[in-house]
């Protein structure tokens, strides 16, 4: 067993796919940062709001005023450094840190896809993605190489496989498969789209999309792994992600996934792509033919094994990735309802959830009483997200507690009147209205003040 692992870790393969991925990933990230800035989201999400929702344990990560722009500039520049393989290690480190910091600043903007990017950039930090077709290699800053350890490419494929398969497994629930929820709600609202629009109102279309989506997510990795079905699989990838791009506001994610699945293609493909790239941009760096079996063998010399620490670290990281999404099993209650263990688990497009929250703050000493106008403290987007996620509600309640204490109230009691509708069910009361949220504290423990969900969703 140990021997096999050792042998696997010492297997080398063509470095082209990794170099190609580095280039494509860097460029995509650069353009996604540009898009973020172009949409005015830097100020809208991070600078304008007076209050930010933070991740448990990361409360210290806050926007830094006008310097937040600098953070984005660093993030954009480091993405380019990654793309061109210029001071790659530094570039990817800066990118990972700045990007992750940006994501941690406010969980209102949480997206599975951004989490994916953080994970990938963390892994890329340990991969020799700059040994080929990079400024570093050209300047002899690193040992040029036509080959890299095989696991350095495989790990990216595994990460991709986790995203797809976990997302597929998450779709195996009664709402998705047997009620076509939430697509039955979302699709009809796109009825104004040309050509396909008028189809989107049919019930059967929502079912077809749901089932196809689940089967696609579960099966696509296998189609891509198997050479005879690879091209077909990739065509499906393109169709699927282009469709989701048209139907839903999911930003750059479709492109990230389309480009990432190219990792499954042969090194020859990546060589050609890199050659084409050299030609177009007149880069004289020669991308020679694929390494011969001989060069691969010479690299496989046990004396050139990569540092042991890296594979161990990546192995542990992968184990965490495999187990972490299942932490919801440790919580009682319906996952979709309580959302305990929902984030960071590749649950994508699964819920249409909306809520109404009205907070009341009362002064224990005088009995003075105030209904909070949420728009005074939060943006529309924050109000929307806060209204159906318990950890948001709790964090905001504590903010209100402090705010009104400063206004002169004695130990204000914060209670909430909250109604939530999930996947087409009629809204019901969400939070125990008698609980003083100022006296409840965030932890990994189950939140007992969430009222029970009066329905069952079967499945994963």
């Amino acid at each position: 067993m140990n021997h096999k692992i050792q042998a696997y870790l010492n297997t080398y393969t063509d470095a082209a796919p990794l170099a190609f991925y580095r280039l494509a990933f860097g460029l995509m990230m650069f353009f996604s940062i540009l898009r973020f800035a172009y949409n005015g989201w830097i100020s809208k999400f991070y600078i304008d709001p007076i209050f930010h929702f933070t991740y448990y344990g990361f409360g210290w990560v806050k926007p830094i005023g006008v310097y937040t722009y600098l953070l984005f500039i660093i993030c954009g520049i480091s993405a380019l450094m990654v793309a061109f393989g210029y001071k790659y290690r530094l570039g990817i480190l800066l990118f990972f840190l700045s990007f992750t910091y940006i994501e941690l600043m406010d969980k209102t903007t949480y997206l599975n896809h951004y989490y994916f990017i953080s994970i990938v950039s963390f892994v890329l930090l340990f991969l020799p993605a700059n040994v080929l077709f990079s400024v570093d290699a050209k300047q002899n800053k690193v040992d040029r190489s036509q080959v890299v350890p095989r696991y350095t490419i495989d790990i990216l494929k595994v990460l991709l496989a986790i995203v797809y398969i976990y997302a597929g497994v998450a779709k195996l629930n009664s709402d998705w498969l047997f009620h076509a929820m939430p697509l039955k709600i979302w699709l009809p609202s796109k009825a104004s789209l040309p050509i396909i629009g008028h189809l989107l109102g049919y019930d059967w279309v929502a079912y077809a999309f749901s089932w196809f989506g689940a089967i696609y997510d579960l099966g696509i990795v296998f189609l891509l792994l198997y050479k005879p079905t690879r091209l077909f699989g990739f065509i499906l990838v393109v169709i699927f992600h282009v469709m989701t791009r048209i139907l839903f506001p999911i930003g750059i994610f479709p492109f990230v996934m389309i480009i990432s699945t190219l990792l499954f293609f042969s090194p020859q493909f990546h060589r050609k792509a890199l050659q084409l790239f050299s030609k177009i941009f007149r880069i004289d760096r020669v991308i020679s033919e694929s390494p011969t079996p001989k060069t691969v063998a010479s690299q496989s010399n046990p004396t050139r094994t990569s540092p042991k620490l890296v594979p161990i670290l990546l192995g542990v990281f992968l184990m965490i990735q495999l187990v972490f999404p299942f932490r919801y099993l440790l919580y009682p209650g319906e996952l979709f309802w309580t959302e305990e263990g929902y984030r960071f688990s590749w649950r994508v497009m699964l819920m249409e959830k909306a809520g109404y929250t009205e907070f009341t703050v009362s002064d224990k000493a005088t009995g003075q009483f105030k209904v909070v106008d949420n728009t005074e403290f939060l943006t529309k987007f924050q109000i929307k997200q806060m209204s159906f996620q318990p950890d948001f509600i709790l964090e905001y309640a504590h903010f209100l507690h402090e705010y009104y204490q400063k206004q002169g109230m004695t130990d204000p009691e914060v209670k909430v009147n909250c109604h939530v509708a999930l996947n087409g069910r009629l809204s019901q009361k969400y939070i125990d209205p008698n609980v003083n949220l100022a006296k409840q504290y965030e932890s990994f423990k189950h939140k007992t003040w969430i009222l029970p969900f009066n329905d069952t969703i079967k499945g994963f």
Binding site: L200, W211, I252, Y342, G355, G367, H419, A421
Partner: protein, 371 residues
């Protein structure tokens, strides 16, 4: 290989819908013509309501002129009648806080209450004021007229004296006509805008976030939540003040016995808008109710639209149990006010949470993946 995979996919998909969706209506439910809905909103609801409001405010203005020219018990009564008629009609247009109405602060200048009697007195005493200023929002509109027509003294005779024998009678007369002519001129500007270019731009604005459907639906919900539920019922009944009651914060406090009528008018207006009812008739056209039915919105076997319509009926039932004077009601039996508040609140939740989400309306464009 490729073909067989595709076939498997198709078979699975068909299995998916046929086995679990045996009794579903195989009709296209969402070919809902939002363009037609917007057209109907503009032509059958909004423009007729504003036109009526314009006529009523014009009549109000005319009666005000007649009154100041000759302040008698008769002209006072006629002015009061015109005020009530216009005030009731206002309840129907308050939903449409769009375009010119927003620009000219229709809501803030027509119906902020309780009115600021101190400012009004000061304005009249000095004769120097600018009703366009934000600080003057609470000293104009229907609540200010309520004060000037009913609140200056306890008997009509004494009220008339302010416009006849009072030192400052001239200023009182000017102030009253300033208020009525402002109400009228804003109404005229709004109608002119709708009848001009605004109608077409309203109908053709289909943007997902800032579009007319989204904006109007959100305004409609906001109207019920912030302009009906809170000020007409919640605030006087102490909902927002830990039970401290405010008899003087009811709508039309000085006249005092019409708060209920105005509430009924506002609830009816809200319900009629939901149902897409042509203004002043019983004919229903396209609207949010039909839209909800078109997307098959239902909860535990009942259509969401009928749940909402039933809740409107429930609100009207609890409202009908109220005293004509809400000041009276909250002192004698506030629980009835709270019942009404709860009934309205329930529909706010149905509309704001269930309806908005069922219609796939957005409040803000942001990347999201449904979690």
């Amino acid at each position: 290989m490729k073909h067989s995979l595709f076939l498997i996919a198709i078979v699975l998909v068909c299995f998916g819908c046929s086995s679990d969706n045996g009794n579903s209506k195989e009709q296209n439910t969402a070919d809902y013509d939002t363009q037609a809905m917007l057209t109907s909103w503009a032509d059958n609801l909004i423009i007729p309501a504003f036109s009526d409001y314009q006529e009523k405010t014009e009549a109000l203005n005319t009666e005000a002129s007649a009154f100041v020219a000759n302040p008698t018990q008769t002209t006072l009564s006629e002015l009061r009648n015109a005020w009530l008629a216009a005030y009731k009609t206002y309840q129907h247009v308050g939903i449409y806080d769009l375009g010119k109405a927003t620009e000219l602060h229709l809501l803030e200048t027509a119906n902020i209450y309780p009115t600021n009697a101190t400012t009004i007195d000061a304005n009249i005493a000095s004769g120097d004021y600018n009703l366009g200023a934000q600080t003057q929002f609470a000293s104009q509109g229907f609540p200010a007229l309520d004060y000037l027509l009913y609140g200056l003294a306890s008997t009509d005779e004494d009220i008339l004296a302010f416009y006849t024998t009072h030192n400052n009678a001239a200023n009182y007369k000017v102030y009253i006509t300033d208020l009525t002519s402002k109400l009228n001129s804003i109404a005229e500007a709004i109608v002119a805008d709708w009848e001009g270019t605004y109608r077409d731009s309203f109908i053709s604005n289909s943007n997902a976030v800032t579009g007319s459907v989204n904006q109007t639906a959100n305004n409609f919900v906001k109207n019920l939540e912030k302009d009906v539920r809170a000020p007409k019922v919640g605030i006087p009944a102490g909902v927002f003040s830990d039970g401290t009651l405010f008899t003087d914060k009811v709508e039309a406090f000085y006249k005092n016995d019409i708060s209920k009528d105005l509430l009924i008018e506002a609830i009816t207006a809200s319900r009629d808008f939901f149902q897409g009812k042509t203004y002043g008739t019983n004919t229903s056209g396209p609207g949010l109710k039909a839209f909800l039915d078109a997307v098959d919105a239902e909860a535990s076997g009942t259509s969401l639209s009928s749940i909402i319509v039933d809740q409107y009926a429930e609100i009207l039932t609890t409202t009908s149990a109220l005293d004509n004077s809400f000041s009276e009601q909250i002192t004698t039996d506030n629980s009835k006010m709270l019942d009404t508040y709860d009934a309205i609140q329930q529909n706010v939740v149905y509309l704001k949470v269930d309806m908005i989400s069922a219609l796939g309306l957005t409040i803000d464009y942001v990347d999201g993946d449904g979690d």
